[in-house]
């Protein structure tokens, strides 16, 4: 069965600094990988996904994520954090092929401090 680990419950970063939110996964075969963001009192919003092709995926709001097959990771990154990036971030995975639902990590709370 597939699973996702987000090893950090909380990440703090100063505004203007680069940020990284970590995600590792376990899946049979090739993965489809996703990142979602949840702002306070809102539903989840889709940020980006990796299906195939270039390992570096660019998404909304300046975020990007790098698929690393050997390390089974899909870390979310942004070169320069904004206070408005403060939110809860979820990584999700499913195996390529077939139509199974996404499996979500427990989420990482990002706080960007001015």
């Amino acid at each position: 069965a597939q699973s996702v680990a987000q090893p950090e419950d909380q990440v703090n970063v100063a505004e203007g600094n680069p940020l990284t939110v970590k995600c590792t996964y376990s899946v049979s075969g090739n993965p489809y990988l996703f990142w979602y963001v949840q702002y306070p009192n809102r539903g989840l919003q889709f940020l980006l996904k990796y299906i195939t092709g270039d390992n570096l995926v660019k998404g909304s709001y300046g975020f990007e994520a790098e698929f690393n097959k050997s390390q089974t990771s899909f870390h979310l990154k942004k070169p320069s954090a904004l206070v408005s990036d403060s939110a809860l971030y979820f990584c999700a995975v499913r195996p390529a092929g077939g139509n199974t639902p996404l499996v979500f990590g427990k989420g990482t709370r990002l706080s960007v401090i001015a």
């Binding site: 889709f46 199974t100 639902p101 989420g107």
Partner: protein
């Protein structure tokens, strides 16, 4: 176009009462999912529907929880004899097909007194 909508946005009920939560998915999406998010917690998968196939109910926490999807569109999540531990935000999502990018509604915040 319209996104996923959920109603009500907030529901306060008394322990032991039944509640119904509604989800309107994006038009044309064949897959629909229900999740539960407790305060400060991640997403707990409850159930999903894919087209006319039998729903995957593997995440439902007890037989007090049930869901249906009428006409392949609107879905209703029903919680019978609510308990205080049922208090959470209930999120609905839909996707074109199961496994595709999921689009989430704003959620229903359920409070059981």
């Amino acid at each position: 176009g319209a996104g996923v909508s959920q109603s009500p946005s907030n529901k306060v009920t008394e322990k032991g009462k039944d509640v119904e939560l509604r989800c309107d998915p994006i038009s044309g999406h064949t897959a629909l999912y229900w999740y539960r998010q407790s305060l400060g917690q991640g997403l707990e998968f409850l159930i999903y529907f894919q087209g006319n196939s039998a729903p995957d109910k593997s995440g439902l926490p007890s037989d007090r929880f049930s869901a249906e999807r009428t006409g392949g569109s609107v879905s209703t999540l029903t919680i019978q004899r609510t308990q205080q531990e049922d208090s959470a935000v209930y999120l609905c999502a839909s996707s074109l097909v199961a496994g595709d990018t999921q689009y989430f509604g704003p959620g229903t915040r359920l409070t059981v007194l």
